[in-house]
Structures are given as C-alpha cells and as structure tokens.
C-alpha cells in the first residue's frame, strides 16, 4: 500500500507525464542488495542518461524494467503499464541490453525477422530499421561476420522494430569507433526528435552530457540524483581557474585562499589552481590576490562538468570509480 502511494506520488510529479516511474524498487540476490529502494521518475519524451559506477545496479535496474529480473520489492509504471505485468507495456518498448546478442549463423535481416515474427510484427518492418541504423547494405551477411560496431547497430535496429515509445539502450557506444559514437549520438537525437523516450545507460559521462536532457545517477544500488541536466548544471557552484604570474607564488596564493575559506585544488598542469568560491566574482579574486601582493596571470570562471557533479553527488573521486581509466569514463 505504501509502495502504491509512493508510486502515485512519483507519477504526479510536475513537468508532464512520466514514461517510467518506480517506487521502492529493490533487488536482492541472496544477502546482497543490488538495487535498493530506487524511485525513478523519467519524463516522457526525454533522453535520460542513466549513470553510475561499476556495479552500481544500472543493468539490474534495466533488467527489472524489462521484466527479465523479478524485483524483490517495489512497484512501478512504464508507459502506463504495471511493472508487475511486463506484457502490458513491452510491446511499446525497444531495448538493447548490454552487448547485442543474435544468432551468429543467421544474417542480420533473418535475425530481425525472427524477432519480428515473435513480436507479431509485419516483416516489412525489418528493412526500414536496418536502413535507419545504416546496415541495409550488409543485412544479408551473417551476423558472425559483422564488426563490433555493426553488431551494435543491429542491436539498435532490433530495438527500433515495431516503432517503440520507449527505447532502453544499455551502453550503446560499446565497441564503436569515434565516428560510430558520433553517428550513435545523431541516431539517439533523432529518436528524441521522433518523440521517443530514450533511457540510455553509459559509462561515458561526457557522452551523456551531450545527448541527454535528463539524468539519473545511482551508486551502490541507491538513487543519488535525478533531474534535468540543465538544473543539475545550474545547481553546481562556479569554479575559478587562477594562475599567478610567478610559479613561486602559487603555494602562497593557495594557502591564502584556503585561509579565506575557499576550497582549492591543483590543476593537472600544476601551474593553475582551481578555486570553489561561492558568491564571489572573478574581480573579487583578482583583488584578493593583488591585495596580498600576487599578480595574476590567468583568471577564468568555468562551469563544472556533469562528471564533476557526479563525483560531488556520489561522494566519490575519479580514482574511486575510474580504476585507472581515463577521466570521464565510469562504469
């Protein structure tokens, strides 16, 4: 009953109808809680990024939304259908779950025909999605001969079968080269232009930042943030990059700024300092440095990236989640 009430509350959130809403969504495997009391509220028509560190529970959450994994607790509504009855909404959902999986010895087209037949879709629906994903020319080739990028595109084509209202894409950029990533970005934007709600999980926060207008962040199975990307950016404090004229003054300037109550970190190049100074302008910082006899060579305000917002919201550092990988990539 409490769950139902919470589900109703989420569905009544302002800002239009929700494509996905859940309340108390929980999944335990034995003693291990993988997804813990997650309440999603994803607006219809949005491109929603779903991010979180490795093992955060993204894929398990997606599997619950798709009826592949049974929730231990919680309820939800997807496109108006109850999460407890996937058959009521899955005909309107397309999905690419983790890596694309098809029959290796069938052609791309035959693989899609098998899925179309299963979903009672006309076989004429196959070629248009192959064309849209850029695979029509190779549709007659066996799946096992496809490159990683082509397999990914076939996965997208399969998800597009039947004209879904909600697309759930789990790591769609996996295996794509830079050109493929740009193509995928365009494809996802075109889905949004068609009015399709897209839920895309990715470990590339920079990529999510470019294509999504809504974001859901989870960590250790718990929801840490959801909301529009614009709101998240606006809520982040401005940060200044400041570099003294003489490198020898850098440590003194850092110390003075810290004494003044500002958070200071060193830049990667080490000649610059990053200063979080809420309610302060660049001119104030310039005056502060001059008053202490330090001439500033560089002073600029920069908006914090989504990636830094993620680290701030989840209380992690890049080292916690990146495990030695390049900045901007979390799993």
């Amino acid at each position: 009953m409490v769950m139902e009430q919470e589900a109703a509350r989420v569905s009544e959130l302002p800002g239009g109808p929700l494509a996905v809403s859940t309340a108390g969504l929980t999944k335990r495997f034995g003693d291990r809680t993988v997804v813990d009391d997650v309440a999603l509220a994803i607006p219809a028509g949005s491109v929603c990024g779903f991010v979180g560190p490795n093992g955060a529970g993204k894929t398990t959450t997606i599997r619950m939304l798709l009826g592949l994994v049974r929730p231990t607790a919680g309820s939800g509504t997807i496109l108006g259908g109850s999460l407890a009855e996937p058959a009521t909404y899955l005909p309107k959902v397309g999905a690419l779950i983790e890596s694309p999986a098809f029959y290796p010895q069938l052609s791309g087209r035959e693989n899609l025909k098998a899925l179309a037949r299963l979903g009672r879709l006309p076989l004429t629906a196959v070629d248009p999605v192959l064309e849209r994903s850029g695979l029509l020319a190779r549709a007659g080739d066996r799946y096992r001969s496809y490159s990683l990028g082509m397999k990914q595109r076939l996965g997208i084509a399969a998800a597009m079968l039947g004209g879904p209202e909600l697309l759930i894409l789990d790591e769609p950029n996996n295996g794509l080269d830079p050109a493929g990533i740009v193509e995928m970005r365009g494809l996802i934007k075109s889905f949004a232009d068609d009015g399709i709600t897209v839920l895309v999980s990715s470990h590339l926060i920079a990529e999510i930042e470019q294509i999504c207008d809504f974001i859901v962040m989870i960590r250790a199975g718990r929801l840490v943030h959801q909301g529009s990307v614009a709101e998240l950016r606006a809520s982040q404090q401005a940060e200044f990059v400041i570099a003294p004229e003489h490198d020898a003054d850098r440590d003194q300037l850092a110390g003075l700024l810290r004494q003044a109550g500002y958070a200071v970190t060193r830049g990667q190049a080490e000649e610059a300092l990053f200063v979080e100074a809420p309610g302060v302008g660049a001119a104030d910082l310039n005056r502060f440095a001059a008053r202490n006899g330090i001439t500033v060579r560089q002073l600029a305000e920069r908006t914090r990236s989504l990636e830094r917002a993620f680290f701030a919201l989840t209380g992690t550092t890049s080292a916690d989640v990146l495990d030695g990988q390049e900045m901007g990539a979390i799993r």
Binding site: F102, Y103, L106, A114, R117
Partner: protein, 258 residues
C-alpha cells in the same frame, strides 16, 4: 501467440548448417543401421536372419534398430536449441519481444519437436529407400513389405519412433533449460542415456521399469526386453509431463541474467 513463437523458432531452426546437418545426419545414421543390418543378416542365427528381413516389418526394422542413436541425436539437438539461448544471450531479446514466458517456451518446444519430427521423417524415407536397395543386393524378397500388413507395420513403427522422438526432444529441452549450457546439457544427456541407465539397470534390479531412457526406448522399439510397450508409454509420458511442468516453472520464475 504460440504460433508467433513457433514461427520465430523456425526462422532460427532452418538455418542451413543446422537444417542440413540434422536432416542429413539422422538420415545417414538410420541408413547406416539399415546397411549394417542387411550386410550382417544370415540365413540362420546372427542379429537378424534374411527370413526375418523378408517379413512385412522388414522394411522398417533397420530404422527401428537405430532408435537409440536417433533418440540421442534428437535429445542433443533439442537440449542445445534451448541452452544456446542462454549462452548466446539471445533469450533476453526474445523475452522483450514475448514476455509471456510460458508462451515463448511452448512455441519453442513445438518448433523444435516439429523440426526433429520432420528430420526423422526424412531419415526414415532415405533409410527405407536404402533398405529396398539393400534387400535387392542381398536377395531378400520384398513382396511382403508392400502389403497391407507391411504398410500397417511401417506406419505403426514409424509412429512409435515419432512418439519416442517427442519424448527425447522434451527431455532434452528440459535439461537444456535447467543447465543453461548447450555443451553441458549434451554431455549430461548422452552420458545418462548411453551409460548411466545401462549401469543402473545392471546393478539395481528392476530399475529398467522406471528409467526415462529405457521407457522411451521401449516405445520406439514397440516394446523391449523387460519393459513392454504400454508400460514404456505410461512411464515415458509421466517423465515428459513432469519435464514440461518443471521446465515451465523454472523458466517462468527464474531471473534472466545471461
């Protein structure tokens, strides 16, 4: 809805490598038994006599002798078709398109069973043609084969083989569903049918009445030593029903994490 799952399964089953290897493999196995039987037949004694081969059921006796091999092959193919959905990861695609799992499993089972029955029919036709040629080669009179009694024996025994094939297929698919690995399922199935049951029957008296492989083989053979046809049919049917129920229960309730 079952028809949609059935049609989808057939799109996969008719891929040339599986289709031709199954159809030609079963035909070759059945034909090999026929050739061996006719080549080994003697005027008296041996595994079969020339006189026995000239009887109305002589046309089909070679195919029936191949029942164990045909059944094991059917079992392996059926197990692999279900288990490979897990190992390939294709099951999640299928379940997004058809979330009613019992319907998906029913369509898949029907697809695999019809595929194997067609392969059996093809194998039987080829083996029967081989039998006619072999009979001419060994000078076995075939006039009794093409009489009313001969055709009745032919269809009855092929019908029994078809029932046995359904049994082997269902047990194979159920095992594939439980172990979720094509290789593991085939190894377990083959070991059970070809070795474990034989050992059990030798060391534990009376077990042949209750073993699934022995029961289904009795059906395929029209009755076997120790297990008559009716008992084999009853026990085999119980195993098939239990296997379907258990596979469905597991499939419907389990999380798909592959």
């Amino acid at each position: 809805m079952i028809w949609a799952a059935f049609a989808s399964e057939w799109t996969k089953l008719r891929r040339p490598t599986l289709f031709f290897s199954t159809f030609l493999g079963l035909a070759a196995a059945a034909s090999l038994f026929v050739i061996l039987l006719f080549s080994q037949a003697r005027a008296a004694g041996g595994i079969v006599t020339l006189h026995q081969l000239a009887q109305p059921d002589g046309l089909v006796v070679g195919v029936v002798r191949a029942a164990t091999l045909l059944g094991v092959v059917a079992f392996g193919i059926a197990a692999a078709q279900v288990a490979s959905e897990y190992s390939l990861g294709t099951l999640r695609q299928l379940l997004v398109r058809q979330p009613r799992r019992a319907v998906l499993l029913a369509g898949k089972m029907l697809g695999v069973i019809t595929f194997l029955l067609l392969a059996l029919c093809f194998a039987a036709v080829v083996a029967l043609l081989v039998a006619v040629a072999a009979a001419h080669g060994r000078g076995v009179p075939t006039s009794a084969w093409f009489t009313g009694t001969g055709f009745a024996d032919l269809f009855r025994e092929l019908g029994d083989l078809a029932i046995a094939t359904i049994g082997y297929s269902v047990l194979g698919m159920a095992l594939g569903q439980f172990v979720r690995s094509a290789v593991f399922a085939v190894i377990i199935g083959f070991a059970w049918l070809l070795a474990v049951e034989n050992i059990l029957m030798r060391i534990v008296p009376g077990t042949h009445y209750w073993l699934p492989g022995a029961s289904i083989l009795a059906v395929a053979s029209g009755g076997a030593e120790g297990v008559n046809y009716g008992r084999g049919l009853l026990v085999g049917a119980v195993y098939v029903v239990v296997a379907i129920a258990a596979a469905t229960a597991v499939f419907v309730r389990s999380d798909v994490t592959a």
